[in-house]
């Protein structure tokens, strides 16, 4: 058993980057009560094994002036190249997260507490994805930190989820609605562009 754990930890680390790393596509600020906002974007990136290409979107509805119900979804394909994606050699992954988003400290800081369901390679994964959002530089940039914690315990004790960190930079044209997003899980690097509506 003592020998087994390092092996399984090693396996876990090798596979820990395999959830798609989608951007957050939002800032910390909440919408007003009854109002809503949404964003869509495309992203891509790579880790040591594969490239990933995907689309993502997020929808926020204001439950109160400080609390939103936040839902995001993404679809991605992992493959060796974009050409192979179109040839059908990739592995598809779908994810949907939904839960409250609490904005605080004059809307500069927010905590999302969504539940996430991910469908990949004919298997469902349930997880919690607590996410911190922090607006800096006059709200032109949002830093985020997301931990996707798998719900189910399983054979590999060394793996429980992915920690993703990144930022959004709201480009200074088109009414600051265009954003550039960069994120990483420490193994791969991913980036995308989006638009908030």
């Amino acid at each position: 058993m003592i020998i087994k754990i390092p092996l399984l930890l090693c396996i876990g680390l090798a596979l820990s980057s395999c959830f798609a790393i989608h951007p957050e596509l939002q800032n910390a600020k909440s919408v007003n009560k009854g109002a809503n906002s949404h964003s869509i974007g495309v992203y891509g990136g790579a880790n040591v094994l594969v490239e990933t290409y995907g689309v993502a979107g997020v929808y926020n509805y204001g439950l109160t002036d400080k609390v939103d119900w936040s839902t995001d979804g993404s679809f991605s394909v992992q493959a060796s190249s974009l050409k192979r994606v179109f040839q059908g050699f990739g592995v598809n992954q779908y994810s949907l997260s939904t839960g409250p988003k609490f904005s605080m400290l004059n809307d500069h800081f927010a905590l999302r507490l969504p539940a996430t369901i991910t469908f990949s390679a004919q298997e469902l994964f349930l997880s919690a994805s607590p996410t911190l959002l922090w607006d800096v530089i006059d709200e032109k940039t949002t830093l985020f930190l997301r931990y996707n914690r798998l719900y189910e315990r399983n054979a590999i004790e060394g793996y429980s989820g992915d920690l993703v960190f990144g930022f959004n930079y709201f480009l200074p044209f088109y009414s600051n609605q265009l954003l550039l997003s960069i994120q990483s899980n420490g193994v791969g690097l991913y980036g995308g562009v989006g638009i908030t509506l």
Binding site: M1, I3, K4, P6, L7, L8, C10, I11, G12, L13, A14, L15, C18, F19, V48, L49, V50, Q78, A79, S80, R84, F89, G90, V91, T118, S120, A121, E123, F125, E152, N154, A155, I156, Y159
Partner: protein, 156 residues
């Protein structure tokens, strides 16, 4: 070649000849964990299929690195009897940590045995072979089930 009539060709006719490797993907997945797709280019490989003697010869830069025999069961199923060398070109272990060696040891047994492939695509120019299986990996007295989805893509 462009004038060949293929209307009456069967799988054995399409298989015959020299195929140039494109890519092999191995998707490995371990009990309730997200899987890892490990694609690798096989552009340096040629697979000479001799349908008379039912042999497959893998050639890399003019050097024969593997030979196996095959049985075509029907138009969509093909069994190769592999060798110890098969895993070396069919599974790229380079990007994966050495700690996964017990998995590779189990896969080596799999690849050197008889493995039946689904013929997902076979025509005059392209061939896609696929199999999936669950491999029990033994370690420290316990078994970890590793699912493998293996796809080979060849072109003429």
């Amino acid at each position: 070649m462009s004038c060949d009539r293929t209307a009456n060709w069967t799988a054995i006719d399409f298989l015959s000849g020299t195929w140039e490797g494109q890519e092999i993907t191995n998707y490995i997945k371990i009990q309730s964990y997200p899987g890892a797709l490990t694609p690798h280019s096989t552009g340096h490989l040629f697979n000479r299929i001799d349908t008379v003697n039912k042999t497959s010869t893998i050639d890399s830069a003019g050097v024969v690195i593997d030979e196996s025999i095959f049985v075509l069961h029907d138009e969509s199923h093909l069994t190769f009897s592999g060798t110890d060398q098969t895993i070396d070109w069919a599974f790229d272990t380079d990007p994966l940590p050495a700690g996964l060696e017990p998995i590779f040891d189990s896969l080596r047994i799999l690849f050197s045995g008889e493995q039946t492939f689904d013929i997902q695509l076979l025509n005059k120019k392209e061939c896609v072979l696929y199999f999936d299986t669950v491999v029990p990996v033994y370690y420290a007295g316990t078994v970890v089930n590793v699912e493998l989805r293996h796809t080979q893509y060849w072109k003429k």
